[in-house]
């Protein structure tokens, strides 16, 4: 892969869920280390894009391609995509009773890195990341997302991404349901994650997280496709003028 090739290339992607077409021709290129934001109303299909990228079995691709690191990943199960360096922070992470955070995170890190990280080394790394996110030690012995508050769930998602160091992190509405303090901490986590090795695709309904995380590219999502793309000023314009402005602009231009 040369620097000129996109890390992720979504080409005319159409996706159905239970016979209903949700994505209607998405095109998107993300290059290594870039930060992109996708903004759109609830129900516009943003989350469908993130689930499809990660390979959820209920999302059926009817046409189009998704290339990651130059490889078509659509036939791959989610774990293979994860091991290639793709990661998704869930909007609603599920609870898994009886499985402790520490056991799971270690299994996950070993799987993605393809080697067993020694327990002591792993613990040090884990504790360091936990400290950054203001996560207490007792977190580790709790069961995954079981009885977690909204903020705790999002912190656990960011914690995992920080350890997995993916080439592309897709963050699905990571800002939703957070109070301002939690939003700041989580945003800081995202900024720490962003690096020349880690590109970010931030999917959000609200502009407010973009006060803390600054994307180079902003895309407006509407009715299953990207209808407008721009730089970070676009998000400000959306905040000031609302999504209706994009809709009107599209209608008047005849799209």
């Amino acid at each position: 892969m040369t620097a000129k090739e996109p890390l992720l290339s979504v080409q005319d992607l159409h996706v159905q869920v239970e016979d209903k077409e949700i994505l209607k021709g998405v095109n998107l290129n993300i290059f290594p280390g870039e930060i992109h934001a996708i903004m759109g109303r609830n129900g516009s299909g943003k989350s469908t894009l993130s689930y499809t990228l990660m390979g959820h079995p209920r999302y059926h691709v009817t046409s189009g391609r998704v290339l990651f690191k130059g490889q078509d990943i659509l036939e791959m199960p989610p774990d293979e995509r994860a091991r290639m360096g793709l990661a998704l922070a869930f909007q609603y992470p599920v609870a898994i009773p009886g499985v402790s955070v520490s056991n799971f995170v270690r299994a996950s890190v070993n799987a993605v890195r393809g080697k067993d990280v020694p327990v002591k080394e792993f613990r040090q790394e884990l504790k360091a990341e936990m400290k950054k996110l203001g996560v207490a030690n007792e977190f580790l012995s709790r069961y995954i997302n079981d009885g977690f508050s909204g903020g705790e769930k999002k912190r656990l998602e960011i914690l995992q991404l920080a350890l997995l160091k993916p080439a592309l992190a897709v963050l699905d509405e990571t800002d939703s349901g957070l109070d301002i303090d939690a939003l700041k901490t989580v945003s800081e986590g995202i900024n720490n994650l962003a690096s020349p090795e880690t590109a970010i695709l931030l999917i959000t309904h609200y502009q407010r997280i973009l006060n803390y995380v600054e994307p180079q590219f902003v895309h407006v999502f509407q009715d299953g496709r990207i209808v407008k793309s721009g730089d970070s000023e676009l998000s400000q314009e959306l905040e000031n003028r609302g999504y209706d402005w994009v809709t009107q602009e599209l209608t008047s231009s005849g799209v």
């Binding site: 990660m54 390979g55 959820h56 079995p57 209920r58 199960p77 989610p78 774990d79 995509r81 994860a82 091991r83 990661a87 998704l88 869930f90 992470p93 599920v94 898994i96 009773p97 009886g98 499985v99 402790s100 520490s102 056991n103 799971f104 270690r106 299994a107 996950s108 799987a111 993605v112 067993d116 327990v119 580790l140 012995s141 069961y143 995992q160 997995l164």
Partner: protein
Amino acid sequence: MREELMEETMAAELANNQALNSIGNDYKYGFRDEEDYIFKSGRGLTREIVIKISSMKNEPEWMLKYRLRALDIFNKKPMPTWGNCKLLNDIDFQNIFYYIKPSERSEKNWDEVPDSIKQTFDRLGIPEAERKFLAGVTAQYESEVVYHSIREDLEKEGVIFLDMDSALREHEDIVKEYFGTIIPAADNKFSALNSAVWSGGSFVWVPKGVKVEIPLQAYFRINAENMGQFERTLIIAEPGSFVHYIEGCTAPTYSTDSLHSAVVELIAKPGAHIRYTTIQNWSKNVYNLVTKRAVAHADAKVEWVDGNLGSKLTMKYPSIYLVGPRAHGEVLSIAFAGEDQHQDAGAKMVHAAPDTTSIIVSKSISKNGGRTSYRGLVKVYPEAKGSKSSVKCDALLMDEKSRSDTYPTMEIDEKDVTIEHEATVSKVGEEQLFYLMSRGLTQDEATAMIINGFFEPFTKELPLEYAVELNRLIQLEMTGSVG
């Protein structure tokens, strides 16, 4: 701390066993030894074989009479008309070998045990476990205990831990006083069978106030095809004492059936505490029809921690009779049923004194057409005022072919009681699998993790080494389970 230890042990285990994920669905204990026995009975159950067993053991007259009376009861009693009747009626009692004596005597030193048998127990990890974390071990092979030991310090404190045959010789008075008092021969068809042909098993007597902090273990191995193993275990905990007894079992895989039918009696005197842990992992051609019952006197506590992974058909309902005020009983059980397996397991709690309390937690998983049943009874007698009982059954189905049923019975004859019952049936969630797989775990790994989590309330009650082993077994079972 336990968490960290468990992780490290698991990591070490995995490192030692890189082939783990490629083993697939194999039952790793299915190997067999050449038969080289002192005595092997003919097939079938006769009066002559019962007399032969008793005479080979040089038993007192009363035991022979007990056996023969039990044989009559067995012959007269019809098969149970509940449970898996089809499988039960398939048992061919005349095709079973009822007594095999593999070696001359029970040894105190592994080096004295015949080589092939010693190698088998080595492969099963028993001597190693004994060195690491057990206070005493009996190893039974076919009908007889071939190895037995107890730590000297426990012996000095007066703890008796013997195989049942030796106990009958060396402590006839105690055995005679308690044997068959908790589970009479006539209790059911299989307790009658056991009472007629019993051999081996453990006898434990813990003196007043003595706490045996490290577990005692018995391991039961069937080797011959169509073998019948009928061990008999009796544990007596004198007032204020404590003991944790663990049993494990495996057998070779054959295309025809074997039969395991044990009787286990526990007596917890006032203030005593007995914990009895079972990891049952018979091969899938073994019928496992076991009667287990405990009596808990005032302020005593009895726990059955019961894991059922193997066997063709298991029917086992550990029970606790709470006969003294404030006695407490717990049954914590898990069952796993794969293809061609039916785990019909459960618990019985009988509240016969005031302020007695009981907890039943049952968790089962069925996959690949396997079947689990929870069958339970909570009975409260009129005088048992202030008693409390809580029953929780969770079943997890891995696919559409598998089946789970719950048969809870409550007989409550006292008003002043608190009874809770809760039952759930669920499927392994697509969202849970997707979440774990999106973090790099394969489908098998993700499934095993969800299942280990489901069984966690059980595994956390096991000694660490057993918890690790159990998780490993589940991982093996789960390879290729969803597809």
